[in-house]
Assembly symmetry: C2
Homo-oligomer: 410 residues x 2
């Protein structure tokens, strides 16, 4: 394969799309099913139609723009991502995957090359979950992981439902959501972390997505007067919790395979400067690429907290409040991405996704691969989010190669 993408055209499309919902600080606000999302969808469809694609919209507003293959009955290859953004999001998260899909098709048009299978560029509804509280809404219903009606009834803070907003913007499509076979799906996305940039790698070969377990830890001590209770008679809940948090952090730094663990929520009661804390609640967000690692980490976290609580005479309750199992992508897709990067001479490394993506959901019903490109300082969900034109082009080139390979394989 030696078709090459047009990197200027890709960058131009990205920048043009970034005008829709543009924020003063150079980011984008294109909340799902808003007027800005509608404008983005319409521009995308306009471009797709100009490229000769046929458009389908399903009942949840997911858009499929098809480039026909020579075998009309063959299951399509899907590629895409999402057009919606965070309230103060960047110009690349999601929309890059959709514009890269468009560039793949445009490049194939330029080369007058027809694949065996059809290629569908997909724009999933409400990936961010910031307006309607269910991230990856379109892809998760497509994959049968969530109920359509439950999603349609979800409301934003103003009380507007997904159902009503889909109707209002005219994207309550006639097609059933999901239920058709998919030969493969590839999604290209910015990393949203600092690993590729730090190591000078152009391409991240995504092997899957980390699993997550989130714990709520309640530490119970005894309140007391900060001035009169000697140190050796205290049962200070926060001092226990602080030691647990430090030990959990140290565990995360030494455990293999390398997990990430975060204590981001801490509540100290009663929270008075002259009262020894009688209670402390904190949350541990624990992520690891494999299930066995998560299981071991949970055991270690419980053991660390138990040991500290017992040694300090504190009460302890640990509640597992969220579980997301790790996802491993299709071995053939992973290899295809790695080989394409290698053939193109791009520095690459295998990487596990720390964030959730539409592709993760689709991976339960189809072979899936993902391509990451570096983003500046690892920053995302932020108006300063940035990826260089070169890296954007490299990711799209790999995407072209793997999509064409899959679309010609029957």
């Amino acid at each position: 394969m030696n078709q090459t993408i047009n990197s200027d055209r890709l960058w131009q499309s990205l920048m043009e799309m970034a005008e829709i919902g543009k924020t003063p600080a150079g980011g984008v606000c294109r909340l799902a099913l808003s007027d800005e999302d509608l404008a983005g969808r319409n521009l995308f469809i306009e471009w797709c139609e100009a490229a000769g694609l046929s458009i389908r919209v399903d009942e949840l507003g997911n858009i499929f723009a098809r480039r026909a293959g020579t075998d009309a009955d063959a299951a399509p290859v899907l590629t895409g991502s999402h057009l919606d953004s965070q309230p103060l999001g960047g110009r690349f998260d999601g929309v890059y995957g959709v514009m890269a899909g468009l560039e793949v098709v445009r490049a194939l048009n330029d080369a007058e090359l027809q694949t065996t299978r059809p290629i569908d560029i997909v724009a999933w509804t409400n990936e961010e979950g910031s307006r309607f509280p269910a991230g990856c809404m379109g892809s998760s219903v497509f994959a049968g992981r969530r109920e359509l009606d439950v999603m349609l009834d979800l409301q934003d803070l103003a009380g507007l439902s997904v159902r009503d907003e889909l109707k209002r913007i005219g994207f309550d499509g006639p097609e059933k959501c999901g239920g058709f076979p998919v030969a493969a799906l590839y999604e290209v996305h910015i990393e949203q972390g600092p690993v590729l940039e730090g190591e000078g790698k152009a391409i991240g070969v995504v092997t899957g997505a980390q699993g997550m377990r989130c714990f709520r830890v309640n530490v119970k001590g005894v309140e007391g007067h900060a001035g009169t209770l000697p140190m050796n008679q205290r049962r200070d809940a926060f001092q226990g919790a602080a030691r647990m948090a430090v030990a959990i952090d140290e565990l995360a730094n030494t455990f293999q395979p390398q997990p990430v663990m975060t204590v981001g929520v801490v509540a100290v009661g009663p929270g008075a400067r002259s009262t020894i804390p009688g209670s402390t609640m904190f949350m541990v967000d624990c992520r690891c690429p494999d299930e066995q690692g998560l299981e071991q980490l949970e055991t270690e976290i419980r053991s660390i907290c138990q040991g500290i609580a017992e040694a300090r005479g504190l009460g302890l309750e640990i509640e597992l409040i969220t579980t997301i199992p790790p996802i491993t992508f299709d071995a053939t897709c992973i290899t295809a991405v790695r080989d394409a990067a290698e053939r193109r001479g791009f520095a690459h490394r295998d990487i596990s996704s720390g964030a959730g993506h539409d592709a993760c959901h689709v991976s339960v019903v189809a072979p899936v691969g993902m391509i990451f490109v570096p983003c500046k300082d690892g920053i995302s969900h932020n108006e300063v989010e940035y990826a260089s034109p070169e890296d954007i082009a490299s990711g799209c080139q790999v995407l072209l190669d793997v999509v064409v390979e899959a679309a010609n394989k029957i």
Copy 2:
């Protein structure tokens, strides 16, 4: 001296006073200048007049009940405490010191013994500071440490001022607050901590009051995605703050003279479970019996936080927000209390007060001594607060001895 107090009468007076503002759980709610405080003041004055004392009320509502001495011109010996309570306070905090003063006078009446100096039983206004936000209000103005007019203008949450409430309950007295010489002041009080009970000591010979320095520590890190930022690239403000809090706790456990240090307020920002904390504020309440110790502790706290912040790439601001210098009581008064306890055969130990008391303020204008008695489990400012009749009696007996000794010394 072999006059003895009447422990049944003392207990009876305490229990009768505890009926005023009695709470369902067996505590007391007698907020400063409330109707309950008024009822308590009136009962106290009624008892004092029955004991032949003459009453003076000053412009801040402080009550002085005088038993005449043989030398009418000699400076009086003062003894007393306060009648107001916390919203859900106990039956002993403060009121014990006033009732013990009354019992001293009653015992002297029984013995028909007249002292050289007059003895004033004093009930200070608003020691608790829970209704009007200035604890030890009466004694601090008496000692010239606060401005009378500022205090009179203070308002409670309902917007009622000290001035108006004093007038309403008829305790806006004609006497100037302070300004007369005091030969000595003795105050007996429950310990409000667990030390005496834990060591089986009946009497605490109070040598002074701890000083306090309170710090606000702001730790600044960098926010990040809990799923995508590797552990070794994080600048997690809470992980830095937790290590600082633990190190400060360890310092408190090893430093001499033994301080107490408490981290009772912690605020983690942004406080989301999947975001690495970008900021953490915490407060350190640090108390120590001597100024040099406080100074060293401040140096060590700053050095601990600095070291951790530098090692972890975090920003740091430490602000000293409150300073209360330590107080050392009059050596003669301390010795008098210790000797009296010894003569009466009471187990005793020297102790530094962890809480503030009216006597601490008066100590800057007169020789002052304090006597502590044990309270159950060290609990105070709570409806379950309790001290045994035996301990209550022992403290009052020592008080009688030191008051008579001081009142006969010219």
